[in-house]
Structure formats: structure tokens, C-alpha cells
Symmetry: C3
């Protein structure tokens, strides 16, 4: 790597051993141009609904919406206001995108050796053609170049979608969403496959702020008065049917713990009634969430939607940031999670049912080899999602391969998903995975654990096939 | 590795760096032909009692008894019935071993990169001379070749025992066992050293199914009416004496948690009486198990039996499988374990006593560097067992070396044990350990952490000496 | 490495890959001669107060004060008495340093592959010029050579301090310390910068043995009658001011768990009163410790002392050893620690305050990637300390780099500290860190994650700048 010019090495992220590197390169080249399957992420579907959608300024594209980026700057004492993050109270924040960009560029060194640094660099280089390092000195030149490109028609999201060779992109959508943007995409005749994912957390977490209003909205969407638990279940089933009509193949669920339990209909309704009255306790919310995981699995068995479950993020850890700027501001912190006992009720009820595909995600890597791989290597319904969030990184992937694959087996995993809000970072993220996979497989080949032909087949599975199959996107 | 012919590379599992590989090969060659010490495992002693014992069909040898194998197939939706696993209710299962073998061969790709895949391949290649890959196409040819060999006298267990160069093989036997097969081996005059291990779990876990009948059997074996706790203790002591006479040098214990506590004789008896009446609570069972660990350590100090303790397997997680097929069907799942506080009573009572050797096994690798290595690097009585079960793998061993050795020191570990039911897999398992050890030591040598001469001595310790000494097999 | 002569390879601890090794060597050479910043450790300041201080015999220097050393010997059955560790009851222990040294030398093989082995070897070689291996045969020859050198004026601590190129050395001192040795150092006119660190654990842990006497001493030091909580706080503030005058830039705190909570002044006083009466409960002590962490952060914000916090050591696990020999005898054992929820009160009160620098240390590596790196990558006040204690090792550092840096970023860490009582081991410990850092960075460079120039800058940060800045030693 040269300081005055950025060059992305052809062999980046591969082990230096020449023999392993040669094999890694060989495997990578076979999969690098495969279409992208993006079965889970947070891209805003609006950008595909409007054919003329523009990303705005470089600051609006790269910094303001990306909590991976501004959390690091914040950790080094830069107030979020200086980065243009909008305050809930409408208070003063920096509005000049050039100034925001300048601060970011001056601190870009903070991202050395981080996945965010890797993605940003590759995105700048490959998507925007920036081939000089981003520093305080080069900030404004680079700003100009990016702005210029963003203004051109080639940088409309639909054009990038095609250029990125995305076969399917799943968004994540609230149970109460009208899916208007998905409808608009369909109506437009554009051929890009952008599908919704049903995420009912907002109506399931009964003590979350605004829950009662959302239940009212859920009622409006379904034309029901959701005054009791059984109507709530019916409403969810209707919404799932609507999402399926709109192309969804999966649901997504997030909880703090992996607790599961089946409540009787009476217990469930009693809790639901307390929630409607604003009287639900923490314990109620905990038990209801555990019960709704069971119910969601039951619904998935019936309607065929693949179930994703993300466990263990303590949301909005920093109350000051939450109150001033709202959620998703880089202050969600993982906790340790127990799976073996917690999933016992769920897996005993539905884990042997081959109609169910339950994809689990964790932020607690100590559970990879101890709990999740042994569970996934036994229960037919259970599959393991790729390294999530903080672990979506070179080291995170290496640890995942190291700890999961021997016990779960590759075929009980589901390939990669980018899980991103930052649409232009999608190719970089999949590229890191494909390189890391190729390098891992090359390591097995060079140690004679698998053959070259086996590695070739596995590389394709990891880049493309496993995700497509697990998410029923065939 | 070539697809049309299987060849096991001389250098398999070694790092690709030429310098490290050369040293690893050098160390490995020094230890690869050392006799096998197998101080802990689950081979059925019957196979050595009967000089004409035959393993049956390839399916009966490789698939039906091996939960490592069929759990992976089950996880991919293949019913255990199709694999010939007997149902407790006598229900229909596949009986044609060729069909079972065909299903297995068609799914053998699932074991890519897994330890089971490594063992099976090496076993097929080295024990049975199979040099073509196992696939759906080759399944029946390979079946025929294995069957042919299994029919020959060279494949009688005693002949294999000698061919495998096993110096000693310890089985695992219930406290109530008559050790009839061990007696028959002795009586036969055959020189193979097959010794029992005293495992009293069945009579210690007071809420386990069938406990009272086993207490009755224990009474029969010892000619006592075991109506109270003190007789129970006396009966155990008698059985231990009998096992020692029969060659045992060790006991084995398994509990869910690492809890230890000393009950007073009155408390212990009160719990025992409740258990006899079928009224023992979960709490009773938990405390009694913790107490019996203390008692077992006390007995070991007195009679010199080495104490093994396996902690943290949640048994029979899948109730449907347990009820239909029984225990040991691939549905035991690890849990997180706390050692530091839990072992406090035990180690304060007996940890400073050099007469005691307590060998600990865990499935929770997060405790390696945090709890177990610091404890073993201090208490004279404590030694660490090798990576257990899911962690008996190339990566598992590497993690174990990485996290244990710096703090515990090599000489507070006890070498390897294969822990297997699958007798013909024993050489492959020890070979993986010897290769992994050689490679680890080569990594230290090439980084100048140890000298070549030190590595040579350590390789021999790991392959042979440490296990022999720790288990008092000298 | 040659057996008859010890040679420390120029390239020790670097990866064997020639390309990575070349870069590692390059980076290491740039930083190996930088001054040593030692911002946290346990060296006795007395040795710098007395210009003629001598270390005594080799046994008194290397064995008797170093629990890293004698814990390993003890774990292999060697009584501490044979190693000359003084008994509290004045009972007989070995007094002949030559005999103690002989036992140590005969068992030096136990340290193969351990950090203690690495430090000792480098210390013997580089500080004492010993170039033959330490064994039972060479023990007495080496003893003589070391003794000879220890007798020479070049081996006075001040001379070594200068030879080691130490820019600053922080000791750790009780809140009640008069800092007499620090005063003597100042008064002597010697230019070495040896500064105290304020460690109030002894007066904060209200159920610890001797707490009331220490409170009395604290009263004497401050001229107050510490009869209530508010005077206790005032006394601590006064002592902090005194330590700051004496050059301290930091405090140090140790607790078993990471619990934090703010008590009301009334609650705090009620607990304090119970403690004075000897009636404080475990729960009281736990809550009071959590509260005092909050208070200490508050004080740090006011007086600018950097706050260090070491969490998770279960002290004096072995009661027999504790009663016979006292604390710090190699029987402190880590426990699992929860940070995300435990630090919530503290970080919400003070985590956003840029005036606070809180440096966290853990013995539970499972929290690196799961909790600590995500927290440090968000909260401005939080930084992560280097691998602590058992993890201050080649593998421990590699795991730390692997799990912390991607999420926290290098610039939210604080370089290295040696944390040692063994003054002559300081250069070896920093050298291991500098080599491990160089090798880690070389691994990133050779994989094109960072550029060479970035690696050069980061190597200097890790060796020198980060520690100096974080501890406000500029």
C-alpha cells in the first residue's frame, strides 16, 4: 500500500503464506462475480421507489446515517452535533456538510484496522473512484469528487443496484408498514428484486415507548379492534400474509435474551390486557416476548416464512444520547447470552420440524462453539446466521469459522448477510466475506483437511447458495 | 488431495509455513509410533472378552453406534429411523445396512472440515484400505470392501488392539457393573491391557430415572441393604476396591455444574432418605451431587484412584429424541460453567493434598484461560484434561494450547484421551492430537519461545508420558 | 536456540512467514529503544529512595517475591516453605538461598512456553548476562554469576532505572501511605521520575480485615476524626490532593465485580456507620464498593486523576495458603464478569464527560469483543487497559489485539503497562509487548488492512505515545 495513492491489493486479507494465498486467490476469483444475495439488511426501500432518488451530500451518505462511523468519532470526544446528527429537540447541529466531512476526514485514522475503515476505503475506491488517502488535507478534494459523481445519473440507487449485481435485496419493515415503497417499486416496472421482511418487534415489546399507538395502527392496517390477545395474533397472521404477497420470505425478531416459554392463551391475554392498560411489568414483557418467539415459530411453520432471531443487544445504553438523538446512535451494547436452557422450550416444541427454518444471530461469541454450533449440528430447524454487527469483520469471521464450522458443519450455516443501512457499502461487505471465506477454505486445503474441489464447492455455497437456499429465495 | 483417489498427506494438519512444517514433521515422526495410552473412553469391553467378536456390517460399525455421525445427518433433516437407530418402542426403522450406508455416503459431504470427517476418512483409509472418496456413487463398492475386511480374522478387536499398538485401554463402567467382560479378558490369558474405570454417576444422581433400582443392585453387589447414607458410602468404597482389584486406576464423574459443598452426615442422610422415598427435590439432587464430589475426592485420597470430572453437558436436550431413542443420541448440549467459586469448597478441602489427582474436563472454553488454567497453575491436586467432545478437534486443540498452556504450564495437563465408543477410530484420534501437538510446538520453536530440544521432550510428554503418569499407569 | 548456549534470537516471537517477519522486524526496530513508560505497577519505591539499595540474593530477587514463579512450583507439589516464602506464624522455612535457587533451577522446565519463562530468560540474559540454560546442573554457576553482578554498583536500582531507559515509573500506594519513599526520592535530587498512584481499596472495602484500623490511620493522616461518610469522602479528597502534589496522575481501584450504583448520602452513611460498628454485611460491602466507584469517577472529574479499574480477581482463593503465608501468594483466580449492565449507572453518570479517563482492566477475555470494545468504541470517558496478569503474554496479547482493536479502535486503548513487582523484569515485559505489537501490525500490513506508514505510526503509539497520553504524563 502506498501512501500517496491508495491501491487495493488484489490479494488483500489473504494469509501471507504463498501456497495458501495462491489457493485463496483461486477460490476468490471463482466467486467474486457471483450475484449478491442480500437476505437481511436495513436499506431504505424508498431509494428504489423513486427513480430519481439522490443520496445527497457525501456527509449525508457516509456519516450522518451510519452509527458505525460516528460512534468511533464520538468515543474520541467529538460531539454528535458537530457531525450533523439531528437532535430530537431540534437543537443546533452542524449543517454544513463540508465541515462535517472535514472533521470526519481528519479523524479517519481512527478507523485503522477496523471493518468500517475497510468498507469505507473500498467503497470510496471502487464505487467512487477515489484513489488518494482520506485525510484532513485531501478532504475537500475528495468531497468534490464524490459530490460530482453523486450528481450523475449513474449514481441513482437503481443503477447502482444493477452495477452491484444484486440478485435480491431484503429490507426490514415494521409489522405496521404499508410497504408503500415496495408497492411503488412493483408498480414502476423496474426489475430489481427488493423484498420486505416482516419484523414485528415494535408490536411485540409491550413496554416499549409508543406500543399502544402501534397496536392502534396495527388495528387500522387490519381493520380490527385489537382489544385482546387472540385478535393480536390474528392481526399478525394477516400482516404476515400481506408481507408474503409483497414478496417477503422471512421474518426478523430481536430480543435481549434468548428466553422462550409457552404461555397459556389466558396468561397471554392477561398480560396483553395489562399492556393495553399500561400496567405491564418488566417480567410481563420478558415472558410475553419469550412466548411470542414460540408463536412466531408456530406461524412460520404454517406460512413458510423463514424466521430470523437476533439476540443479545442492550439497546440505547447511553441515555443521554438516546434522549437527545434517539435510537440507533451507536450505543447498543452486547450482553452475554444463555441459549442451551433458554431455547429448550422452543426447540422441544418446534426444533424437530423440518418445515421451520430458524436462523439465529448472536453477539456473544462465547456461545458459538459452546452452545450454538452443538445445537445447530443437531436440530433440523436450526441454522446459524453469519457473524453479526461488531463481529462482521475479518477477525469476527475468522473466529466464526474457527468455532462454528467443526461442530455445526458448513451446511447448517446460511452464508452471509450484510445487515447494512449503507447501500453503497454492500459490495464491499460481501467482498470481505468472500475473501475471508476463500482464505479460510484455503487454510483447510493447504492443511489437507479438505480437497481443492471440496473447497471450490464450499466457496460457492458461502458466497451464494447457502443464503439463497436458507432464505427460500430460489 | 486428489478427487478420484484419496491420499492422506504426510504433512496433513501442519501449518503451511515451510520452516514450521519441517519442524512439525520432525517432532511428529518422533512420536507417531509411540504406544497409545487410552486412559478414558467408552469402548465396550465385550469386544475383547470374546476372541471371535465381530463388528457386524459397516453400518453397525460406523453409523448406528456413533452419535457424532448421525447427529449431523439428523440436523439436515434425515430421520434417525432411516439410519437404523433402534426405537425404544420397537417401531419400524431401516434394517438394511446397505441402505443406511447409502444415505450416509450421499451425505458424507456434510462432514467436510469436521473432526468426524477427519477421523472417518483416516479410519477408512488406514484401517480399511479405502482409497477412493466416499460418495453416493462409491457407497456400495466401499461397503463391499469394508464388509470383506470385517469378515477376516485380522479385523477381530484383539488383533486390531495389537495392530493399533495400544498399551492400555480404559473403559468406563457403572458402579454396579460386575465387570464380567473384564473378568473374561483376564481369564482368557490374552495380554491386552483393558482396565475398567469406576463411574458412580448412576447411583449418585438421585433423581435420575431408575435410581432406586440401581441402589438395590448396588446392595446386591455388595451384600448390603443400602437403607441409609453411611451404607451407601460403604458400598461405594467396596465397589472402588473391587474396581481397583480389576485394574482400575481412575474414577469418572459427570455433573451439570461444578457445584461443590460438604453436607453434614445428617443432611446427607436426610437427602438420601428422601431420595429413597422418591421425594428428593432438584435442590436436593444438586446439593447431593456437589457433596458426593467432595466425598469422591476424599475416597481418592484414601485409595489412590485418580479422579476425573466432566462438567457442563446438558443431557438429552431433545425430549422427543430421548423418548423415542434414549440417551446418547447426539442431543447433549454444553452450558456455561462457573468454576472459581464452585470449586472453592472442594479445593480448600483437598486441593493442597498431593495424594489427590483431580482431572477436570470442560465444554466451556471461556473458562480455559479465565478459571481453569489459573487454578491448575496453583493447586497441586488439579490437572486439566484435554479438549473434550466437541472440542476434540484441530481447532479445539489449537484453542486449548493457546489458552491453557501459558498459565497452567504443560506439566499441569495430562496429554490426550480419545473418549470414544468407536474402537477403530482410536488411532486416528490420537494421530490428530499428535499432529496438532507437533504443529503447536513447532510454532513455539519457530518463534523462539522454546528450543528444539525442549519441543522434542514436550512432544513425547504430550503423546505418551503425561497421560501415563497422570493416570498412574506406569 | 541452542541447548548449550542460550541465544535470544533477534526475531523472536515474530511469525515465521518471511514477509511478515521482515515487516515486524522493521517496526520493532523503530520502537525497541523508545523510553519506557511504566504507568502502572507494583515496584517498591524504597529501592529508589535508598541509593545503596541492594536486591539481596538471586533467590530474594527472582523467587521469594514473585508469585508468578512460586505458584507454578507449588502446583507441582513443591511446598512454599522449601522456596523460602515466609510463614506468618514464623514457622520454619528454607533460609539458604542457594538451596532455594537449586530447587527453582531443577524445575525451570515447568516454565516452558509461559510468559514467566520468557521474562526470566530474557532478564537473565540481558540484565545479568547469563548465556547458558538454567538447569539443575548449571544452577550454582549461574547463582554465582548473578550474585557477583548484584554486588556491583551497576546493579543498584537507580542505575538499572537509567540503563532501562525508563521515562516514568508509577508505583501503587495505599491511600494511607505517607509516601515517605517518594519524598525521599525527591529530596535526594535523583532525577528518575518515580511517581505514586492513589489506591484506596484498603479503606473502601469495608469488610476487609483491618479496615477499622486503616480508617483510623486515614484519620491520622488527614487530621480528622472519620466518624461518618462525609468526612470519609473529605479525607479521600485530601489524600488525592496530597498524592497529586507528589506527582500522581492516576488512581487505581480493584473490585470483584463491575457493579456500580449511586447510593444516597444517607444510605452511604448508614452503611459506613454499620461498617464502623463491624456490622456491615456482604451486601453492604458490595453496594458500598459500587458506590465508591461512582464517587471516585466524580472526584477524578474534579481533580483530573486518571482512574484505573481492575475487575474480577477472586483474591486468596486458597485459604490454607492465605492463612499460612498471607495475600499475593499466587492464589488469586479470575471470575467471569458482566460489564454492560453493571457499568450502566456509572457510564450514564460520567461516561460522556471528556474530563474523565477511566481505564478498564479485565481477566475475563470473553468480555473483550462482547462488552468492553463496544463500550470503549462509544463512550468518550472509557479506555481499555492492556491484557492483564495471566493475559500479559504472547497469546494473551494476540487475543487482545484480535478481539479489541476492530471494534474499539487502537486509539481507545492505552498501550502497555507491566504491572510488575519485579523491577528487573520491566524491560523484558515491555520488549514482549513491543515485539507482539510489531508482529500484529505486520500481520495487518501484509494482508493490506493498513499501510506500512500507518503501521509505523501505530507501533509508536503502542510502545510509547498512547500510555503517555492516557495517563496524562506528557
Amino acid at each position: 500500500m502506498n501512501e500517496s495513492r491508495w491501491v487495493l491489493s488484489e490479494d488483500r486479507f489473504f494469509d501471507p503464506d504463498p501456497q495458501q494465498r495462491d489457493i485463496a486467490r483461486h477460490l476468490y476469483r471463482r466467486v467474486k462475480s457471483l450475484p449478491i444475495i442480500s437476505p437481511h439488511g436495513h436499506v431504505d426501500p424508498r431509494m428504489f421507489a423513486d427513480p430519481d432518488y439522490s443520496f445527497g451530500s457525501p456527509a449525508e451518505l457516509f456519516i450522518i446515517p451510519d452509527h458505525y462511523v460516528f460512534r468511533m468519532l464520538y468515543s474520541q470526544g467529538i460531539p454528535l452535533e458537530r457531525l450533523g446528527i439531528p437532535r430530537l429537540d431540534g437543537g443546533e447541529v452542524e449543517r454544513d456538510p463540508r465541515k462535517i466531512w472535514q472533521v470526519f476526514a481528519e479523524h479517519f485514522y481512527l478507523f485503522r484496522g477496523t471493518p468500517t475503515g475497510i468498507w469505507l476505503k473500498q467503497e470510496l475506491y471502487e464505487v467512487f473512484g477515489i484513489d488518494i488517502p482520506l485525510t484532513g488535507e485531501t478532504a475537500q478534494v475528495i468531497y468534490d469528487r464524490i459530490s460530482e459523481r453523486l450528481a450523475s445519473p449513474e449514481y441513482r440507487p437503481r443503477r447502482l443496484f444493477e452495477r452491484f449485481n444484486i440478485e435480491v435485496l431484503a429490507t426490514t419493515d415494521m409489522a405496521t408498514s404499508t410497504l408503500e415503497h415496495h408497492q411503488a417499486i412493483r408498480a414502476s416496472g423496474w426489475k430489481g428484486r427488493v423484498i420486505p421482511t416482516f419484523r414485528p418487534d415494535d408490536v411485540i415489546h409491550i413496554r416499549a415507548r409508543g406500543w399502544r399507538e402501534r397496536i392502534r395502527t396495527l388495528g387500522e392496517r387490519t381493520g380490527m379492534d385489537i382489544g385482546n390477545y387472540s385478535r393480536f395474533i390474528r392481526a399478525l397472521e394477516e400482516r404476515r400474509a400481506f408481507f408474503r404477497e409483497m414478496g417477503a420470505t422471512a421474518t426478523d425478531h430481536a430480543t435481549l435474551t434468548a428466553h422462550t416459554e409457552r404461555l397459556s392463551a389466558q396468561e397471554a391475554d392477561a398480560i396483553f390486557q395489562r399492556a393495553l392498560r399500561g400496567e405491564a411489568t418488566e417480567e410481563d414483557a420478558h415472558r410475553f416476548a419469550g412466548h411470542m418467539i414460540m408463536e412466531s415459530a408456530r406461524m412460520s411453520i404454517e406460512d413458510g416464512l423463514v424466521m430470523q432471531w437476533h439476540v443479545g443487544a442492550f439497546r440505547n445504553h447511553n441515555q443521554l444520547i438516546y434522549e437527545r438523538f434517539g435510537p440507533d446512535k451507536g450505543a447498543d451494547i452486547p450482553i452475554a447470552v444463555e441459549f442451551t436452557r433458554s431455547l429448550h422450550p422452543l426447540l422441544n416444541a418446534h426444533g424437530n420440524d423440518p418445515r421451520l427454518t430458524l436462523i439465529l444471530f448472536t453477539l456473544d461469541e462465547s456461545t458459538y462453539a459452546r452452545e450454538l454450533a452443538p445445537l445447530a449440528g443437531h436440530y433440523p430447524a436450526l441454522k446459524l446466521g453469519p457473524p453479526w454487527w461488531f463481529h462482521d469483520s475479518l477477525n469476527g469471521m475468522r473466529r466464526y469459522f474457527d468455532r462454528v464450522m467443526e461442530t455445526a458443519g458448513l451446511y447448517n450455516t446460511v452464508g452471509f448477510n450484510d445487515d447494512t443501512r449503507a447501500f453503497p457499502s454492500i459490495p464491499a461487505r460481501h467482498d470481505v466475506w468472500r475473501r475471508a471465506s476463500a482464505n479460510w477454505l484455503a487454510g483447510l486445503i493447504v492443511r489437507d483437511v479438505i480437497s481443492l474441489a471440496e473447497g471450490e464447492e464450499m466457496a460457492e455455497q458461502m458466497a451464494y447458495t447457502l443464503a439463497k437456499k436458507a432464505y427460500r429465495l430460489g
